[in-house]
Point group: D2
Chain length 475, copies 4
């Protein structure tokens, strides 16, 4: 049954994860100014699902438990599921202007669905049913699931086994489960969800088979320590949790998640040493995630376009042709990326498992369009706003009894807007142009080099040679 935000918060409030923020151990994480925005963000994924207006995108009918479920827990066995998935991503980004923390988990479940099916078929293992049970469990309980891939990696010139405990690995296989050790980084959402699914981040060779491991854990499982990222945005959010930080839902919060001898029972293990399936699991995941990411980025940029237009009105420059052109340029970048994503969905292919995967070529091409689109959007938005996007005084200055009147007067824009509203918007622009999200656009869904390598492989260059040979009558 679909839960409310309230029910979700109640569930996770009971957890006692080992959490550190900027060198301090945090006990009441639910109200911490760096964590609360994340909870509000996930909370919205619950509350929107209960609203009639958003049902079409937010809710799906599960093939497995035969009831309405949150689409973030859905397995895409119809092409329409793929299309709604990318539209869902855009919707949430429009509402949040930050991460919803549920994409990676959802995308891993689908990727695992395909790969466990293939493993079982080839190796006669029984991972697929085990995964199916797990999926039913999270669907029936409407749990929030995040995902963890990125290993810390250390010296990239060395493989996992050439280094001393850098990639997450299987330390021991026991009768009732496995023990794992290592760390995952850049983990979005981590402890504010009910569950986390974990998988490898690169293709593996036999010598690295101890690193071929996928499983699910409950948040706050014993042996797991969470360290929040620390960047300037987090510092500001801690200092002034009001509108000063620009986005009420905060920036994308990620964690270093340390697994120090963590036990995982077998019914939660979905890959264990099958190293030659790590590569296809990773590429299934990245094809999906880059696809979804183009919806996510288009939604972020929707808020930048809206902010750019609003700010141009606040500054009285909305009719200048260079302003109109700069906004149109943002839209071109944004819709190129999104349309390319859509095409990947519509040209998706049904795998043997029954799950639809997006067209890999278009999915990877869309990822290469997302970064320049976000970067240009942020630059044009800051351009339209003026230098004030990083030089403005603060909410506290505005509210200060001695200087507030000056700020009130001098930060005012056109008559259509109050100073406080303009400052809120200025801080939202700061969030985009001087916050951590641009880096997210670079590395989200994998570093820029990887989609290029995929595109090179996926472009059927030899077929294209044949067109020329036929045309020119060359043997």
């Amino acid at each position: 049954m679909l839960s409310s935000k309230q029910e979700y918060v109640k569930r996770i409030s009971k957890k006692k994860p080992a959490l550190y923020i900027n060198g301090k151990k945090i006990d009441n994480f639910v109200e911490h100014p760096n964590i609360k925005p994340m909870i509000d963000s996930i909370g919205l994924t619950y509350d929107l699902a209960l609203k009639e207006e958003f049902k079409d995108l937010m809710v799906a009918n599960s093939q497995f438990v035969n009831e309405p479920i949150n689409r973030f827990l859905h397995i895409y066995t119809e092409k329409e599921d793929l299309i709604k998935r990318i539209k869902l991503a855009r919707l949430l980004s429009q509402k949040l202007a930050t991460c919803n923390y549920r994409c990676v988990g959802c995308d891993i479940l689908n990727a695992l669905y395909v790969t466990t099916y293939d493993m079982d078929e080839t190796l006669k293992t029984t991972y697929h049913n085990r995964l199916l049970d797990y999926i039913k469990y999270v669907q029936q309980n409407d749990l929030a699931v995040s995902g963890a891939l990125t290993d810390v990696r250390g010296d990239r010139s060395k493989s996992p086994s050439q280094q001393d405990d850098m990639y997450l690995k299987i330390l021991e296989k026991k009768t009732d489960g496995i023990v794992v050790k290592g760390a995952k980084i850049c983990q979005s959402g981590a402890l504010v969800v009910d569950e986390t699914v974990v998988m490898p981040t690169i293709a593996l060779k036999e010598s690295d088979k101890a690193y071929a491991v996928a499983f699910a854990i409950e948040s706050g499982t014993e042996g797991v320590t969470y360290v929040l990222q620390n960047n300037a945005y987090e510092a500001k959010k801690r200092e002034t949790p009001g509108w000063e930080s620009g986005n009420p839902y905060g920036d994308r919060g990620t964690f270093l998640v340390i697994f120090d001898n963590v036990f995982v029972p077998w019914d939660r293990v979905f890959m264990c040493e099958e190293y030659n399936f790590a590569g296809s699991l990773v590429s299934n995941f990245t094809d999906i995630h880059r696809y979804v990411g183009s919806g996510c980025k288009a939604g972020f940029i929707d808020t930048m376009v809206g902010a750019a237009k609003l700010m141009s009105e606040y500054n009285g420059i909305q009719n200048a042709s260079h302003i109109v052109n700069k906004i149109t340029d943002i839209v071109k970048g944004q819709e190129s990326c999104y349309a390319c994503g859509l095409a990947a969905g519509y040209e998706g292919i049904k795998t043997k498992s029954g799950v639809y995967l997006p067209n890999a070529l278009y999915s990877n091409v869309s990822k290469t369009l997302g970064l320049p689109a976000i970067a240009q959007a942020a630059i044009n938005l800051a351009d339209i706003t003026g230098g004030v996007c990083v030089t403005a005084p603060s909410e506290e200055d505005l509210k200060n009894p001695e200087i507030g009147k000056y700020i009130e007067h001098y930060l005012k824009g056109s008559d259509s807007v109050t100073t406080e509203e303009r400052m809120k918007l200025i801080k939202f622009v700061e969030y985009w142009i001087a916050g951590p999200h641009l880096a997210g656009a670079i590395h989200g869904g994998g570093s820029p080099i990887t989609p290029n390598i995929f595109i090179q492989r996926l472009a059927n260059v030899d077929e294209k040679k044949s067109f020329v040979k036929e045309l020119l009558e060359i043997k």
Copy 2:
């Protein structure tokens, strides 16, 4: 019934159009070295339709005459029709590496289908049935139909009626038909087809109602004079019709088509003074044509990718990383454009007339991606080829008894290829980097400014403002 190339050629051979090429009147146009490649190009659209292998894309079932027809004559009343339309465009471009001369005609018929429906509904005119009869006629006879839009325009700061006979206009309305006068330029295909449909090129005001005219004529109709474009490529094709010109199907041949008091009977007139429908007819057409154009350009670029790979092998540099990257960059540009086009199709919208129009926003965005994709492809292809792409000796030099041995020796590449094959490919590269096609990519489907204006209008910026206001709690 589907005709063969042979039947098509036989039909058009009977026509006696008034044709001029570089200042000379041409009588036997069918064998003229500037015209024959165009006929071969259209001929292929007939022959491919007869091959089992290409049936799915080349042939459609007509809703009107209830038999298989060439897809270039099809009306898109199913979304799948739209998708096959863009794939058809890509297929032909892969096969021809030049224009197939039937896209504009096909796209005008569909645009007219929508607009005549709307006109009849609003104005109680009877254009739609008239058009339907015409469509049945060309379908039943499997006629090749081209289209004519672009007026010569003269001084663009003046409207049609402010100038002296620059745009095509209705000179007289008679009981049995109308008399038109004016000229259309950049007309692809013109006299090597059976039929040409004509429509306005811009939105019109009441004062310009004489210019609101759409109709069909048979090629070679009395009063019509055709003047072939003259560019360097045409000159070379005239001089050496062998492989020297690079593409056996030639470049995109266009004509200045002069209408000097041409009579058109009423059953071939589809718009006559309904000036306030000119704008929507134009935008229906451009939405379709820019959509189709992204398939067309992707297909052209397929031949450039193939040529780039082949040439890298001929030059022995296929493994250099910068070569691999340059080819991958071509693919990224190409597939961005095409995927964006595909999305426009998949997100197409059914009009009241029953015809599906592609999503206008993505269609226009795809047009803006096509030009940089083609330009970069041509540049990278020439880069990989070397300066020889414009400095090579000629086929005649290779065949010359005195110096042929030198050419044979010094123009040779790697052992995998003969000198003649490498020279053929070099000339094909010249065709792309130093031929008229880059200009075609700029202006095909309208000058670069127009899609930008459409995008600006189609981006729902106000909705995006609402996301930000809701997020920041701004009134």
Copy 3:
């Protein structure tokens, strides 16, 4: 005589400016974690001038006081001065990776030198000698001078006089001086210097003559209030003043400077109502400042190139061809901008006042190259670094007794580097990719539209028409 950093700090420590930071009044500004890095930054401009190694660029011989002076106080009456000026800018950016706070002041003094000369010649005023006396004063006392231009502007669709006290204006002219009111924003350096010179930010009409005002004030003058910018970086710097913030010299600190009925004696007033010279003063300033800015940005990027190379070594990927290419691409952008700046200097023109101004066309072109160069550099640097550039734990986490060992282990890179060193570098990358400096590259030296307008005016298009007419024998 050249002072030391120590002497400079001693001087400014005596000042009692009205300073607010994030809503709090600050008394001991010298040790405040947001202000101290600025003082260290300016301090370096003193200490480097005393080192033999940097004398050639740091020290000039004054034409006026006939002794060695800091080049930031020099008037460029030789072309060589211009060249050394841009090299000085690059040097400081290499050393600081942030603002040195003395460029704007230096550039205003030179711009005023030209404009006061022109005013006196045309209007028979006596500003030039007054300015000369002021220049001698700051040179003889080796004072740090910053500059203030940018008005808050409010509704940009209205001129200064159409708004209620948004631009800085002359409130009253008295026998002994003038009284001014208004605010300047984005003011780099402001209160940590000895002196600030103030000038208008736009060309003015007669109705706006009250806004045509230029003058100098001592820092902390009565009636002046300083409000520090508040962005996330400042918050982090306040919270953890160690290496956590990435750059020991901090980001570019700017202030909102409020002038509430501030009295300026006549000997410090350099423009007073001469509205028709405001435009040329602004363009003289921007020509110089955009010129200097290309050196500044090249120097910033030098530190990004260095960081990118170092990080690639720390990550063990320094030999991957895509990494090498990404670094080379940064260099191309950087050197394009800088070389274009250099050309502006070498092609500089001597004004009637004796001062050399850089070639305005190349100066403006270099500004348009700086922004994409910085943006691409930051993106490539973050790309090479990995997502960790915004997701890393903090210095405090590393030093925490419970989890420090995990951070120590898992944030390690190749053997060539300690975890602390790698984390320092990661935080430096965060500074560039997720700090306020990208916005600085957008608006420093004026918003992106203004150089474009200048270029359009400066390109001698009509002369270029004549080349074509002569070539084609067109009248």
Copy 4:
């Protein structure tokens, strides 16, 4: 003494080179429509030198023969010589809108000047004085000198000696001279000059020492065969030598120059087997030539800017903001390239030989800016012109008695221009957008990959690492 064009033409008219054009042997080359424009082009370099107006750039004072000489024969022993050299290049490109055919020769003479000096110093050879005598000879007789570098290369994966006679080589060393065999391609100017200097095109190893050869020959020397490039533009020029081809000076004419056992006397040999100096000779040449090339390209683009402005006036769209922006964008690209070139000159370095070489880093960066600048200029120019730039009827059509009146009417633009003038300009645009010059911009001065490799080497990345280490106190 400075010659006139007439004297130059008289001199070369006496030569009897073995010349082939499109498979035909040509005897009276001087009047051939493909060759005459080249002669006119070089002729202008003589006539301009006699005009007072251009003396400053066209004429230099020789250090060796102590009289005024054409600057294309000058050795740059003053920095000012370098600066005038690039301005000379721009001037000629403005006048010709095509190649002047004397740059490569001039740049090779300077590169050889440096390298022969170094060879003599290291190897105790006597090449430098021999070269000096040759320079005096061409200066005293005011001879036109072209240069030849580019070998045909065959399979690039093989070195010269691994292939059978692909690169030009020393076949025999005799007492009175050497015998050479091979071919040079992409040779601009070749037989319409008095003299050609020849040098290797790549760095060489000991096994390739037979290919380390530099020398001078008189045009039409026995054993040398010239084959003109054949591209579409040449075909058109042959067919209609009037204004139809767009540029009266034609496109850049290059030749395949075949050396079949050609004897060169010792006094004309400047390198013979000194393989370890081939690399530095090549880089000295390319540093100079890429430098000069930025002036050349800026001058070409000057004619495109002029054409764009003229055409916008002819089309009545000169005030549209998107047109103004497109022209401004051309200027930005053009001046970025040129200013970067200028900086290379001003930051040039004096070699031990006394010759100034441009700064290699900026020279190579300027080359990377030239290609996108030319490509964007051509695209924007074609955009402003309309599709007619490749679809217009011909001069012959305009002059045809039957259809000329139609062309006259329908190709007319605004009232400010005759149809013939507009058509001339249209054909000039075709020349740029659909001619061989874009390929020239790609490969002139070496393929795009080579400047990138130079930049990578020349960027002092290790010094930049030290800035970061010092700043962050990293060891």
